[in-house]
Every structure is written in C-alpha cells, then in structure tokens.
Amino acid sequence: MAEKPTVAFYWCASCGGCEEAVVDVAHGILDIVNAVNIGFWPVALDFKKGDVEDVPDGFYAATFINGAIRNSEQEEMVKLLRKKSGLVFALGACAHLGGIPSLANLTSKEEILEYVYRRSPSTENAQNTYPAKVYRDAAIKLELPEFFDRVYPLNQIIDVDYYIPGCAPPSELVADVFMKILKGELPKKGAVLSPNKSLCSSCFLNDTKPEKLLIKELKRPHLTVIDPDKCFLLQGLVCMGPATRTGCNERCIHGGMPCRGCFGPLDGVLDQGLSMLSALGSILDFTPEQEKELDGVIGKIGDPAGTFYRFSLGASIFYRQDGKRGGE
C-alpha cells in the first residue's frame, strides 16, 4: 500500500471498555497498527475540533465511534466526523443499540438529578444546590454541557456504515474487522459485522435442548443451582440466546451465566426485546386454562424491559422516531 489510510476514533457516552478492546488489539497485532495512520483519537492523542474541521471531506478512511449519544457536543462531533469520513463504524453495544446507558430512557433526567444531588443517603445538601449549566461567582463563570432527554444509538443521529457489536466487542472481532477493511473485504453497507445467526445456533449447549423446547417455570440465576452443562433456557433461566446474534464465542455461557444479549438482534429484526418476548411466548408451556399459573410464572420476570432490552433499549421501537435500526 503506497499511501497509508488514516483512521479516526471517537467516543461519546462510553465506559471506556470499547477503548480497552481496541487497545488490546493494538497490542496483539502491530502490523495492523503499522498499516494505518491514526488521525484522530481524543482518548490517546491531542486534537482540536478545528483539526477535524480542517481536513477535506471524506479524509478519514474509517472512523470508529463508541458510546451512545447523549448531548449536543457529541451530536455535533459525530455529524462532523460523518462528513469527514469515508466509512463510519459504530463500535460496541452503546453505539450500536444504546447499550446499558440507554436503560436510563426508562426514567427521567429530573428523577436522576433529584436522587443523585438531593435524596441519596450520603448526600448532604441543605442548600439545595444542583450543578448548573452556568455558574457565576463574581468574575468566575463556569459552564457545564447541556444534555438530551434521551440516550440515542449512533444511527439515530448520523448515517452508519457498519456495526461492530458487543459489550465490549471481543478484541478478536475488532481485529477481524481491521483485517477486512485492509483487505477490502467488507460486506454490504449497513451490515452488522458478525454472522447473522442466533447465539443458540453456535452455543455448545444447544445440543442439550430437546427438539421442541417447552418450559414450565422461570427461575432467577441466584436462586437456582445452575447446571453449566445444560441449556440455560431449558433450565428455566431467561437466556437471550434465541434473540441474539452470534459471534462472541458464548462468553457469558462459558462463564456459567445466561446471555443478556449484548450482540443485538439478527438481521431483519426490528426490536430485540420483542423478538425475545416472542420466543419466550412460544416456549412457555401453558394453555389458556392454566392462565393463573401462567401469570405466576410471567410475574417472576420482574423486569421485562430491563431483561429483554438489557443492551438495546435505546434502539427499541418503543422509542424510535425514525424507523432506523442497527444493522439495517
């Protein structure tokens, strides 16, 4: 390659785990790092927004954005990066689907502020002080950023070319994507860069499932002796495997715990939570005559939204206004 392509990284409302995943790659395969110029990486390198403004449109061959979108600064920045980039990759569950931070969409900004700064048991705040957008004291003027009411996945703000799923994405997957970019082997625009099959299809416990899976009860992991060698759903534990894309190497299942769905839905599924709900509806073994028992079992889920949408609440059609989805 004569001219090294320049890539950029940016992070929005993120925990830093996706960055770790990238750093893990950088350690492992230096040849990839050597094959590109890193043009913009606020986490690692100094930059000015002006630097990004100055480069010609489409300058960055590929830009990786992790974290959900929460405030106007992030919105501005990702819109600018969109303009300056050839390809935009949503990296990780937060950028892809809203991630765990988007569980905040179930509550309101006001409730959060009230709790954190007033009601939390360790807070002492008789003066009723809240962080202010603008704080003045004589000549001192300090400003804090302004935030949106909701948490958005990246594709609700800008056009996204590809999605790298996972929370965090396995570094092997990130490495694989880098390879594909360098070799020019990327699939069709809009693809989620992991096989379009369910986690169950690759799960090492899939064989333990009977041909027709039916269950009579739902259990919670901490109250159950879990058999690590038997499909969790079969044991009555909610496992998101049927409604989740494969590609993580069944990490949680190997850890002895059911899947929570961080790889998001399969192609063509508009809403991961509803897809899980539908799957569960099919396997709960109750007839209409057993409505009472059914109610009891369903009641055990306790928190359907937080369970079925652990990583994808921000992308749920309950919230969406523009019909877009990860991987479309």
């Binding site: 992070w11 690692a44 905040a104 705040n125 202010a132 603008v134 928190d303």
Partner: protein, 488 residues
C-alpha cells in the same frame, strides 16, 4: 444558587477534562477548578432491575475497572441476601480480584506514572510516554509487560466469562468453579507475576529513587497535601483489597474511625457544588469545611498511598519489606506527598502478586461447592472493596422479591475529587506568579492529578499514556488570557 439545569444522567466520561484557573488583580492564582462533566445516572436507572443483575449492570460504569464494580456489587448482594460465599467461592473471588489489582496497577504504573517516574520529570516531553519508558527499561521488558498482562487477562476471561465486564458473581458464590487443570495455569502465571512485581520494584529503586531530583520533587511542597486517609484493612490491620474494615486515620496518623458496610453512612457525606457533576465526599463527623487541607480539613483521601497510610503494614512479606522502605525513605507516616501514590501503587502490585501465589495454592480453590443459595428475604445490602483507585461502595435496597428500590454508589475517584482539585490549585499557585505562566505548567499540573490515576482519564489507558487536557487561564474579570492544550 439553585438554578434550572439540564444535564446528562448517565455519561461517565466526557470529552476533555477541563481545568479553569482564575487569576487575581496581581496576576496570582485566585482559584482553580477541575471540571469533569460526568454524572452517573446509574443510581436511578438501576431501580426496578432485579438485584442479582446489578453485578452485570454496574460494571458498565467503567470499562477500565469493571472488576471492582462487579465485586463490590456481588458483595452488596451477599449482604442484601445475608448469605456468605462458600470457601471455594471466596477463594476464587479473592484470587480473581488480586489478579485484577495486579494487571490494572501495573499498566498504570508503566503507562501513566512511568513516564513521569522512569523517564524522569526533566526529560523532554516527546520522551515522556510509554515509548520513553521502553527506551529506558528496554524493549524486552515492554514485551514482557504486554505478555504478562495478556496472560493474566486471558485467565480472568476463562474464570469469569469476560474480563471487560465479568459475569460470574452471584450472591453467595460464583457461577464458575476452578478446575485442577486451571489451577496449574494460575500457579504458573502467578509466579511470573511475582517475578515481574519484583522487577518492577527494582526499576523503581534503581531508576527513580537513585534520581535525587525526583526524590526532591516528591518530597517538596508543590504536591504535598495534608488530609485524612481511608483504606481497607484485614483483621490484623494490614492492607486488604477484597474484604475487611474500612479504617480512617487523621492527618497525624491517629485512628479516627472505622466502619463496615452500612456504617459508611455515619462517616461519609457528599457535598454538592454547582460547577461540577462530581460530588465531593468528606468526613461527615467533621462537617463540610470547604476545599482546604491541613489539620483542620474535612477531606479524606483514598487509593494506594491512603491504604498504606491507614494500615499498619502489608499483608505479605515482600510487600511488607517494600512498605518499610517506603516509610523509611519518605521519613513520615502518614505520608502526605501526593507523588508517593505511584510508589505505593508498586508496593501494592507486589502484595497482589504474592496473594495470587498464595491463593493459587490453597486447597479450597478447586472445591466444587461454589454456591450458597440465598434463603433470606432481601432488604438492604452494602458491598465495599478497594478498587485500584480507592474505596468503592455499593449500597442497595430492594423489595421482598429482590427488585432494586434504591441504589447509592460512592465511586473511588469521587472520594478523591476534592483533593485532586486542591492539588491542582496548589500546583497552579506555585507555578503562576505575577501573571507569568511557566510553560511547564501543563506537565506539572498533570503530574498533580496523575498519582490518583483518576478514572475520568480512562483515557490514560491508551497507547501514548497522555490524558487530553485543556487549561484555561482567565484574568480577574473572567476574560480568557490563554488556553493551553496538551501537545499544542
């Protein structure tokens, strides 16, 4: 002072750390502010979630120290359900936790502290990064470091499903056992870890302590801060990361208080300032006294040096040796020199490695009995661990079905937030006189907060080991005089 505000409920880490410095009429520093525009809405949006899921949700507060949150959460769940982990589960958790302390501390020392220490504060800026460290200690060591970290992290993935956001913690135990086969691997890696810890301490001795300029800087006034200290201790009052009492000492070294679990509410208060999303914890019994250090302060500090100060020693022999050397050289206890945090961190690396070796050998590690199933009705629970960056507290309440009704989190870096601000202000006051701004200001100010390994610089985990930072200098009427950016 209460104003209508619109802020982010969830963001952990936002854009740049921002420091605002205001000068007075004569051009000296009036006040300095470190603003981190982050707020964890986690406390609120965890409400309504099943309690047992907290250990899988809260790690997303931070992808740099997810294990600390996972463990604090798991312990809070033990307490919520009043169930103890089985001996095997406790051994597995403790081993896992020490592995995490080891790799996290090590990385920070070499990538972050390293540039200041190993290369030396006087070295040209272009060399004051991980590459400079490599230049000094040799490429082979650098690759050893990478391999070391990788083998520990790979083992952690094997034990807990994932290393970034582990999944195995459950009230009363863990979801995955350790096999004899794994034990052999763990033993091997633990011994390598021990060797590496010894080597790291040697690097510190040879490269850092033999540099009088550096020792002078450490023990100078610029970075000194007199505060209370807080840290976890075991039954014999020695440093522990996973479990024990939280002990507080006053600036003279006398024990000031001690608590466990829910007792934190008697000792810690959190103060709110209108210019920051971070709250400022202080000692409740003293009342909020503002951003002041000294004998009259209400502030306490956490993290490596605070832990060493609060304890009477380390729990393991080699770390204990290093501990004694530390206090002998620095000549005071408690040590108030902020830059000594780096050294304390390396001593903790040693304890973590020694603990890995010890725990990899105990018989119960491979026992199959890894779960006690809770039988009590859940109500309220507190879990506390020592995160690399200090005491970390998770406090949950739930209904009788174990659905969270309230969650309070005191995150390590937050406990140090007032001290970090003070350290920065102090450094700025020392370095800016009569409106003259020393060009080394940026580095010196950075050196003031780096010892804390602040988590808002998750940033700092990346390759060049530099946290993006902007300093704004303003005249008495608030006009911007200068903007200093790293690298510009």
């Amino acid at each position: 002072m209460s104003q209508k505000i619109t802020i982010d409920p969830i963001t952990r880490l936002e854009g740049h750390g921002k420091i605002e410095i205001f000068l007075n009429e004569s051009g000296d520093v009036d006040r300095a502010f470190l603003q981190i525009p982050e707020l964890r809405g986690f406390e609120k949006f965890c409400v309504g979630r099943p309690a047992e899921e907290m250990a899988r949700i809260t790690p997303r507060i931070c992808g740099v120290c997810p294990t600390a949150h996972h463990m604090a959460s798991t312990k809070a769940l033990d307490d919520l359900y009043k169930v103890s982990p089985t001996p095997a589960a406790k051994a597995i958790r403790e081993l896992f936790y020490n592995m995490f302390m080891f790799e996290d501390h090590l990385l920070h020392f070499f990538y972050l502290g390293g540039p200041d220490f190993v290369v030396g504060p006087e070295a040209p800026k272009a060399e004051r990064n991980i590459l400079g460290v490599i230049g000094k200690v040799g490429l082979e060591v650098a690759s050893q470091l990478i391999t070391m970290r990788k083998s520990v992290r790979d083992l952690m993935s094997e034990m807990a499903g994932k290393v970034i956001h582990p999944v195995f913690g459950l009230p009363g135990g863990v979801s995955k056992r350790v096999t004899e086969e794994q034990r052999e691997k763990i033993k091997k890696v633990s011994h390598q870890a021990l060797d590496f810890a010894e080597f790291t301490l040697k690097v510190f001795d040879n490269v850092v302590l033999k540099n009088p300029k550096y020792v002078e800087l450490v023990t100078g006034d610029t970075y000194k801060l007199k505060t209370y200290y807080m840290g976890m201790v075991d039954k014999t009052d020695r440093v522990n990361f996973y479990d024990g009492d939280i002990k507080i000492i006053d600036p003279s070294g006398k024990e000031f208080g001690r608590f466990k679990g829910i007792g934190y509410l008697d000792w810690i208060g959190e103060h709110v300032e209108p210019w920051s999303f971070i709250k400022f914890p202080y000692l409740k019994k003293l009342g909020w006294r503002g951003f002041e250090d000294g004998d009259n302060t209400c502030l306490y500090r956490v993290a490596p040096m605070a832990r060493l100060n609060a304890a009477i020693g380390m729990a393991t022999p080699k770390a204990q040796e290093a501990y004694e050397w530390f206090y002998q050289i620095l000549g005071e206890k408690p040590v108030h020199y902020t830059l000594a945090y780096h050294w304390a961190r390396v001593i903790e690396v040693m304890q973590a490695a020694e603990e890995m070796v010890r725990l990899s050998n105990i018989p119960e590690l491979t026992d199959q009995d890894i779960r006690n199933i809770p039988t009590e009705t859940p109500k309220e629970g507190v879990g506390i661990v020592e995160a690399p960056r200090g005491t970390l507290i998770h406090h949950y309440k739930s209904d009788e079905n174990g659905i969270i009704t309230e969650a309070n989190l005191i995150v390590a870096t937050v406990s140090n937030s007032a001290a970090i601000s003070l350290n920065i202000e102090k450094a700025a006051k020392n370095l800016i006189k009569n409106g003259n701004v020393n060009d080394g200001l940026l580095n010196m100010v950075e050196m003031a907060f780096r010892p804390y390994d602040p988590c808002f610089g998750c940033a700092t985990h990346s390759l060049p080991g530099e946290m993006p930072l902007t300093i704004y200098l303003r005249d008495p009427s608030g006009n911007l005089i200068r903007e200093i950016k790293r690298g510009s």
